[in-house]
């Protein structure tokens, strides 16, 4: 499909994402201005506070955005899933440039001018309003401009906490190996950053002393800048209004918040529950594509009711037990501990496993006659490996895996986004990756899964994690979950994944067909 066709088919959704993106950026920048400029003014007058406060703002800006989202989710009022959390995080990032430039701008006012102002008998407030702020304005605007451009970038990550925006396309594009989606997310974001940079840059000039002289001579720049800004603000306001209108419509009926992790299979499993609930008259709010540990945090904090998980992941990554290989033992232990620790119930297994699949290119496997991981060990010394962040760090991931097989690679394995590892393997950038066994692209890209002949990887049975209070509140939930017990085979799951990842069908459609076929 050409990019042009893609746009023709998806422009409505894309505009919605642009609007969400814009309103997140504008609201957060506006809040940061309202907090940041007075703080900057205060710091320009209070030397003792200056360095500590700027230091804190500095540190806040170094927190990785996904980690910050993670901290925020369990917090009352400012946390949760969705736009609020994203805005709080964006404000945190936008504050530093605004505060710093306000301080720099005010302190940078010519000493002679300030002394003249004092000597003319101006009060501190008059000096601030009539002399310091006007003279610092273009420097302050530079800060706002930097903050806004940063916000446009960070907002793409806000998709990971369900805040929407163009990041939705970028994450989806990475996952589905789809350049159209990547472009549809990245190009408007880049244009937005450029537009913000350009229009605020013009405003900055307009408010500089040089700009004042220009303006009297009838400059055009400021008019363009103001027009662009007004347009941005109106679009943002409209987006916010639309979002609010939608939000209130569904707030009444019995509601279940269904969430998923940020990969296709998780979305499909969540969608299966969502559609099953909807056919039973329950209102479903979808919070898909949450990154990292966010689904777990959100579930425990009661921000979501349910999400699909794997027993092995729960056992090792969340409960932090050393990996074991008996599926029954893992399931029982997980079920017991989740009930005790989190008041969360673990559903019956769905019928398939999604374990780590050690993958090599089909050509290599055939040439070298590779069947098992042990077969690959002698060749690995001349190979490079690429693994997702997850695999590199978890207890049942790379460290234990390489020890169990005595694996050594030519270099330290590359750590990259999981979906990128498939691309890296296909394009010969790496020679071995750890993918998912139900990944639809395995066959499509002609990869071969090497058998785990030493039984290293623990079992990863798919289950749903549900809050106990949600089960009590919504009886239909238990009914749906019992229907789904043992209902999906590994082959079926691979096919569903393939429909989305390779055939580019929408998960909603794929799930609808599957449910019809199954006769639920």
């Amino acid at each position: 499909m050409s990019f042009w066709n893609f746009l023709q088919q998806n422009w409505v959704e894309m505009l919605t994402l642009v609007r969400q993106h814009l309103s997140l950026v504008l609201i957060s920048t506006a809040i940061a201005v309202v907090i940041g400029i007075p703080t900057g003014i205060l710091l320009s007058r209070n030397k003792a506070l200056r360095n500590p406060v700027l230091g804190i703002a500095n540190v806040m800006q170094t927190i990785p955005s996904l980690a910050l989202f993670g901290f925020l989710i369990p917090l009352p009022f400012i946390g949760g899933i969705g736009a609020t959390t994203a805005i709080v995080a964006l404000v945190v990032y936008a504050l530093l440039p605004i505060i710093r430039n306000t301080v720099t701008g005010i302190l940078g006012v010519d000493h002679n001018v300030r002394e003249a102002a004092v000597a003319m008998g101006m009060t501190d407030g008059q000096i601030l309003r009539q002399v310091e702020l006007p003279l610092a304005l273009s420097v302050i605007l530079t800060g706002v401009r930097v903050a806004m451009v940063i916000s446009v970038g960070v907002t793409t990550i806000a998709a990971a906490v369900g805040a929407g925006g163009l990041g939705v396309y970028i994450f989806r594009g990475l996952r589905q190996y789809d350049n159209n989606l990547l472009l549809a997310g990245a190009v408007p974001a880049a244009l937005m950053a450029l537009a913000a940079d350009f229009s605020l840059g013009l405003l900055e000039k307009r408010f500089s002393v040089e700009g004042k002289v220009e303006k009297r001579r009838g400059g055009l720049g400021s008019k363009v800048a103001i027009a662009v800004l007004v347009l941005l603000v109106l679009l943002g306001a409209y987006g916010t209004w639309r979002a609010r209108a939608r939000g209130t419509a569904s707030a009444t009926a019995q509601r279940v918040v269904v969430a998923s992790k940020d990969f296709t299979e998780s979305i499909l499993l969540a969608e299966i529950v969502a559609q099953s609930l909807e056919s039973r008259g329950v209102v479903v709010e979808r919070q898909y594509e949450l990154g990292g540990n966010l689904p777990q945090d959100a579930l425990v904090a009661g921000r979501i009711d349910l999400y699909p998980e794997y027993t092995g992941t729960a056992y090792t990554a969340i409960l932090r037990h050393p990996p074991i290989t008996d599926p029954r033992a893992v399931y029982d232990q997980v079920k017991r501990e989740y009930a005790e620790k989190f008041n969360v119930e673990v559903s019956a297994p769905l019928g398939f496993e999604n374990t780590f699949a050690i993958l090599v290119r089909g050509a290599d496997a055939r040439k070298l006659r590779l069947k098992t991981i042990s077969d690959a060990v002698p060749h690995a010394r001349s190979w490079r490996a690429g693994f997702g962040q997850d695999f590199m760090t978890r207890a049942d991931g790379y460290p234990g895996f390489s020890r169990a097989y005595g694996l050594k690679f030519a270099d330290q394995p590359r750590e990259m986004d999981l979906s990128l590892t498939y691309i890296a393997l296909a394009s010969n950038k790496v020679d071995l990756i750890a993918g998912n066994s139900t990944e639809g692209r395995i066959a499509a890209l002609d990869f071969v899964q090497l058998e785990d002949d030493r039984r290293y990887f623990p079992p990863y049975e798919a289950v749903y994690l549900v809050r106990q209070d949600s089960l009590n509140r919504v009886p239909a939930l238990r009914e749906v979950l019992s229907k789904l017990a043992n209902a999906i085979t590994t082959d079926e799951m691979r096919k569903l994944n393939y429909e989305v990842d390779a055939n580019k069908k929408a998960p909603v459609e794929v799930v609808r067909e599957w449910i019809k076929q199954k006769g639920f």
């Binding site: 010519d110 002679n112 001018v113 002394e115 003249a116 102002a117 004092v118 000597a119 003319m120 008998g121 101006m122 009060t123 008059q126 009539q130 002399v131 006007p134 003279l135 002393v209 040089e210 004042k212 002289v213 009297r216």
Partner: protein, 260 residues
């Protein structure tokens, strides 16, 4: 104002000023009375305390000991804002607000004092004419569009705007070329005579002091070492005064030698 000519407008009583960072006081035991209507020039090298003396008058600084009185009232008893609005202040490079037009700069203190707009406009026009700038041509310009001499004129006009009884001038003509400088000095003498203003003028240039001052206060290392009329200053035997007069002679000799 002429009939109160002989009463003191500014008085220093045994004033010292020091800052913690410096071991020696910047100003020591200053006793000085400035009469209404006179132009007192404070003369001295950089760092002798003459600017400090000026800033003690409009309370940009507060004395460490002793008393500074303006119109008979200690500066510590004045509301600093009221005191400064009654005191015109002109500094080197004028200290004009770069984001204000010439008219806004000149009309600043009247507008702070809440004058009506029409009255401010009249006053601005009057003052620009007074300092020799055509209001039609210059009122709406920004300081960066003026020459150094023009900026300095605007600085003087701004200081005069709210009709303060006292003018403080800190090397206002220091950065100007000799011709512009001479022209502004002549105008300044004219103005102070015509308006009957009291002025305290800081400079390190003896010729300027001789040209402008009704009295000259010579300062050295934080002390007032001589206070005389220009005529008596020329005849003085005081060592620092002699050193200054030597430079005058040298300059004259140089100029004479050059013309041969």
């Amino acid at each position: 104002m002429n009939d109160s000519n002989n009463s003191a407008l500014v008085e220093f009583r045994d004033v010292s000023y020091s800052v913690p960072a410096l071991p020696a006081p910047i100003l020591s035991d200053l006793d000085l009375t400035v009469q209404r209507g006179e132009t007192l020039v404070l003369l001295g090298e950089s760092g002798c305390g003459k600017t400090t003396t000026l800033k003690l008058i409009n309370r940009l600084y507060l004395s460490s000991s002793g008393q500074v009185l303006v119109e008979g009232k200690s500066t510590t008893d004045w509301d600093p804002i009221a005191l400064r609005r009654r005191t015109g202040y002109v500094i080197q490079d004028a200290g004009l607000f770069p984001h204000f037009t010439v008219a806004d700069n000149v009309g600043l203190v009247p507008s702070l004092d809440g004058w009506e707009e029409a009255k401010i406009n009249d006053r601005v026009r009057e003052l620009l004419n007074l300092v020799g700038l055509d209001p039609v041509k210059y009122a709406e310009r920004y300081p960066r569009e003026l020459s150094g001499g023009q900026r300095q004129r605007v600085g003087v006009a701004r200081a005069l705007a709210a009709e303060p009884p006292l003018l403080l001038l800190d090397e206002p003509f220091g950065a100007l070329d000799p011709l512009t400088r001479a022209s502004l000095q002549r105008q300044f003498v004219d103005l102070t005579k015509r308006l009957g203003k009291t002025a305290i003028f800081v400079t390190h240039d003896l010729r300027e002091a001789l040209r402008l001052g009704s009295r000259i206060g010579l300062m050295h290392a934080g002390r007032l070492v001589l206070l005389e009329t220009p005529e008596n200053f020329l005849k003085s035997d005081e060592e620092h005064a002699r050193a200054y007069l030597e430079t005058l002679k040298l300059q004259v000799d140089d100029e004479a030698g050059g013309s041969k």
